[in-house]
Symmetry: C2
Subunit: 327 residues, 2 copies
Amino acid sequence: MRALIANGHGGAEVLELRADHPDPVPEAHDLLIEVHACALNPVDTKIRMGALGEREAPFVLGFDVSGVVRALGSDVTDFDVGDEVYAALSLIRDGACADLVCVDARLAARKPRRIDHVHAAALPLVTLTAWEALFDRCRLGTDEVALIHAGAGGVGHVALQLAKQRGARVLTTAGRPETQALCRKFGADVVIDYRESDFVAAVMEETQGLGCAVVFDTVGGDVFDRSLDCVAVNGRMATIVFNESTSITPKLFAKSATLHFEFMGVPGIHGVGRDRHAEILRLAAEFADMETLRPHVGRVISLDEVAAAHADLEAGRSIGKTVVQLR
Amino acid sequence: MRALIANGHGGAEVLELRADHPDPVPEAHDLLIEVHACALNPVDTKIRMGALGEREAPFVLGFDVSGVVRALGSDVTDFDVGDEVYAALSLIRDGACADLVCVDARLAARKPRRIDHVHAAALPLVTLTAWEALFDRCRLGTDEVALIHAGAGGVGHVALQLAKQRGARVLTTAGRPETQALCRKFGADVVIDYRESDFVAAVMEETQGLGCAVVFDTVGGDVFDRSLDCVAVNGRMATIVFNESTSITPKLFAKSATLHFEFMGVPGIHGVGRDRHAEILRLAAEFADMETLRPHVGRVISLDEVAAAHADLEAGRSIGKTVVQLR
């Protein structure tokens, strides 16, 4: 099969398109999927760089997939050959930048019917991340105020839509006119231009000095530290960015607040909570079909453009999801 | 009235017994309580030292009370004069080391009927802390495994009983034969002698290397840091001890785990969630009457012994709660 393999850890130059990579063989719980589309995520570049541990080369990246079931492992009962499915793949197995990929059926769900494979592939990883962070962990409630950083970003734009659907008031941050417009399109109540103003001051002004019941950090670094100041008394913050901050306790203790680390890779890596991933994807498919969850695909590329897209992703140049269309 | 006042911040020598301290005057939402018993907690010594901010002298410590309502503020409707009540008092108002104290009625509940004022006074602060940490924040589930540190301590012995009542499997730590025996009496499934063995290794062995779904740190310092290693994938840890650890993210991120800071003073300080405190105390009173929650009173003292008891508390010499009996 065609596959974009990484021939080792390093920069985008380790990626290499091969026409004759061996087909994957499904294990007992697996679906063998014919990949129609696969989306790129920051985690692709991290795994490529070796930041999530040493991996034996060659390996395949691309952990969001939408496609058609071509074969079933012996223990699979919930799917049939020919089903259109979508999933976020295990981060420790081969990904979907290839004609075929295997996924544990317990992580997969039928794809939304009203959107195509390209748009369906843009959803799983960011939706699982946003859903787990906002709903399963922070338990965002109707009428609560949420600060969601980078509302035009991959995770951000899905989080923003989910939070609005839940009934929350949503504050978000964006630095460019086009990303600010996107945030408004996705329903943000307040869009803070973080280049023009101090977002902490803006959040405190918008919340009468109370801060936000829920804060979702999708940026990290200094944004993480300053976001701790935006958490209300009894508030909950979730982060998806690794950060060795020393401010966590000093800023959260007296507020009796909570910090959730959200890493959506856990079910695929540890085999814990796979069913919940499939359940979230089934619910998200309904939302997508009702158009209350709209993935923002910024660019559709082919397999031989993925290396260049990795560089764009690392430079923060891309807006919306980059999706690889395979057929 | 009699009152043990602090004439400034500092060591136990700032405490001074006065026979003629002015009676407190109830505000609109207050109950005026005739104090029958008041329990000491580590927070007393912290406030005495000024660690929770500068306070105008003279001030009164003692934030756990059980007593009888003697007068009602104009807005109080749920209580009558003569009611026997118990409460954890606001940490920013005067405490109960005195004949009379005022408490916001929304923080108070009727005292358990089957235990006396001395035992009732031992419950509120530690019960609110343990309840909020284990149930409201960590959402400890039946059949989950919890590590509760210092199971013979003030918060620990209540947390242990609550966790057992919830149906969890409970591991705890204790260093002396008499405290280990207490942990067993309160229902601990596994008591780890932290002086004889590495508690992290013991926890991992007891959990087949999985760690605990819930970890409750009541000790802080090195125990906090090492407890992060005991948290399972998707686990939740709560701490009640301020700690500028740099290990939080490195140890919790990849496990997609949660850290809750539990500070029970929030409702009394910020006026947020007072009703929940009263509700917890009502439920705890039922548990106490059913003897599924038994406060461990180690020592009953008089008002003029409080200064010495502060020193014992700070030196870690006391076992069980120290309660001041006033009448």
